[in-house]
Amino acid sequence: MEIASFLEFLQSDATQRTLLAETREHLIMIALPILGALVVGIALGIAAHRFRFLRGSILNMVSWFLTIPSLAFFALLIPIVGIGNTAPMTALFFYALLPIVRNTVAGLTSVDQAVVESAKGMGMGRVKRLLQIELPNAWPVILAGARVATLLLIGIAAIAAVVGGDGLGQSIYRGINRIPAGGSLEAILSGTLMIVVLAVLIDLIYLGIGRLTIPRGLRD
């Protein structure tokens, strides 16, 4: 395969339509698991931070998920949730938990104890302290966890195509199935390229979210 032929492949209308559609599917596939993992992960992180005896079990549990090979995880879920996007999305949700939970615990632990004590000393109750003082101060670290989780999911989501899921994995899977026919490498490469582009874009989006949501007093 030559660069010229790859560029030609990328320029064709059909390719671009396919890639755009798959990119959209890819994004949708990771969006819901990330949002779900943020809600559940932060809650688990808070629980692990507050109740010391739970910390070990919570962190261990979310670590185990990440050790299950993704293909196996997707396949194992099919009997439960059926074929299509549901199985990979469920698995992606579990994969996203570890970075978010771990960073929530790390972020909350890193909040200056004097800050928490002074809040307590002024008569701020537990819930107010958590919502107004601890979480805002832990937010930069939590957000970094969410970013890692999202990037992780962009990569893993490509494997969903194998179990009948949508997304950029389809271009790659299609290509693999046609090897050594002409155009197979181009398909694999185009899917991979779009995943990289997507990752860079999401990184930029996280930079923007950071700008908007991290209070100025916490930025460097």
Binding site: A114, E117, M122, P215, G217
Partner: protein, 392 residues
């Protein structure tokens, strides 16, 4: 209304798994409107005792009576909103602006926005920070001294009758610390809060306290008395050792400039006058130098005769006037400023910086002499041997 603001009754803290309690049966009355200092060696339980008053640390047994009301079992959050709290690490909220930090308790109490804003501006001014300049800054943009001023403003926000201060000036450089101590004492003259102040520094205790509790291990008071009493009549060996040597020097910290006679007839000149008039006046006097004041009578420069001959602008002639002290500063402060300043005297100014007079070494020596005489008198009447007589 009683004269005792805080009553501690047999307050005990026993941590699980330890045999010896951290604080044992601490009973003490804290008089309304006074600064009571808890001082003692590290590990004596003074901070634990302080933190039991606002129940940051819950007492194992005993009672806390605040203004006649037993608050040992009341809602801790409501209790804490009535008690200002200042800690050594300050603990400003880094994600909130200075103004919002100060507004913490008013917001918890549900004050309306206008009242809160007004109060925030007022407090920043009280602690010497221009609200326009600092209200919208973040804590990290302030120096340590400025942050602790904000810490004090935040503690005073809802005008609580009681203030707990845990080594508030401990982490601040010595020069700023002295300034903050002086400012705080001036503030306290106006506010008349009931303050419990913890420090490990006996000098700070003597300077800040209306009353000092010297605590031994398990927070057992070795002596609870005024600074004067502690310096002149230490209750036991522990107090004597803790107060240490140099009692006379320490007593310089007890006497304030407003209590002694300062020199008010020092030769002064005004920037409105010309150099010639000033030179003639200096030559006609017995003084070797004069103090130049600006239009608001604030000291500017020290001038000697040769400085007035050089034809330079008066504002640049001679040496800059330094070593300012306010009337509530102690003789120890005055002495220290004197040693740092250029003219060998401290200039006394009021809080607006307006010239009042000067203090020189002689003033201080005379005061020390008087203190010695008073002390000798005390020993004589107490039928004790005056150490000075033995030595003589």
């Amino acid at each position: 209304m009683t004269d005792t603001m805080i009553e501690l009754e047999k307050l005990t803290k026993r941590y699980p798994g330890t045999e010896i309690p951290a604080v044992e049966d601490l009973t003490m009355g804290i008089p309304r409107g006074e600064i009571v200092v808890f001082v003692g060696p590290s590990g004596c339980g003074k901070t634990t005792s302080l933190k039991m008053i606002n129940r940051i640390i819950e007492p194992t047994s005993g009672h806390i009576i605040l203004d006649g009301e037993d608050v040992t079992k009341s809602d801790p959050d409501k209790l804490r909103r009535r008690i200002g709290y200042v800690i050594q690490q300050i603990g400003l909220f880094p994600h909130r602006r200075i103004g919002d930090n100060v507004a913490t308790v008013p917001n918890l109490l549900g004050w309306d926005r206008d009242r809160t804003n007004e109060r925030v501006n007022e407090l920043l001014e009280i602690v010497g920070l221009d609200p326009e300049m600092y209200r919208d800054r973040y804590p990290k943009e302030l120096s340590g001294g400025q942050r602790q001023r904000v810490g004090v403003a935040r503690a005073l926000a809802a005008d609580p009758p009681v203030l707990l201060m845990d080594e508030p000036f401990g982490a601040i450089d010595p020069i700023t610390r002295t300034r903050l101590q002086n400012e705080f004492l001036r503030l306290q003259q106006e506010l008349q809060k009931t303050i419990v102040f913890v420090t490990h520094d006996i000098d700070e205790a003597i300077k800040m306290g209306d009353r000092i509790a010297i605590l031994q291990e398990r927070s057992i008071p070795a002596q609870f008395a005024t600074p004067e009493e502690i310096l002149t009549q230490p209750a036991n060996q522990f107090v004597e050792d803790f107060v240490g040597s140099g009692a006379t020097l320490k007593r310089l910290k007890l006497t304030r400039i407003r209590d002694i006679e300062i020199i008010t007839d020092c030769l002064t000149g005004s920037v409105d006058e010309d150099a010639r008039t000033l030179r003639d006046r200096l030559a006609a006097s017995e003084w070797t130098g004069m103090l130049l004041l600006d239009e608001q009578k604030r000291p500017l420069r020290w001038l000697r005769a040769p400085d007035l001959d050089q034809g330079r602008s008066l504002r640049e002639a001679g040496l800059p006037a330094k070593a300012f002290v306010e009337p509530h500063a102690t003789l120890s402060d005055a002495l220290e400023e004197m040693l740092l300043g250029s003219a060998g005297v401290s200039i006394v100014v009021d809080k607006h910086g307006v010239y009042q007079g000067i203090v020189d070494v002689d003033t201080i020596i005379i005061t020390i002499q008087e203190m010695r005489d008073a002390s000798a008198e005390f020993y004589r009447t107490a039928k004790l041997v005056d150490p000075a007589e033995v030595a003589g």
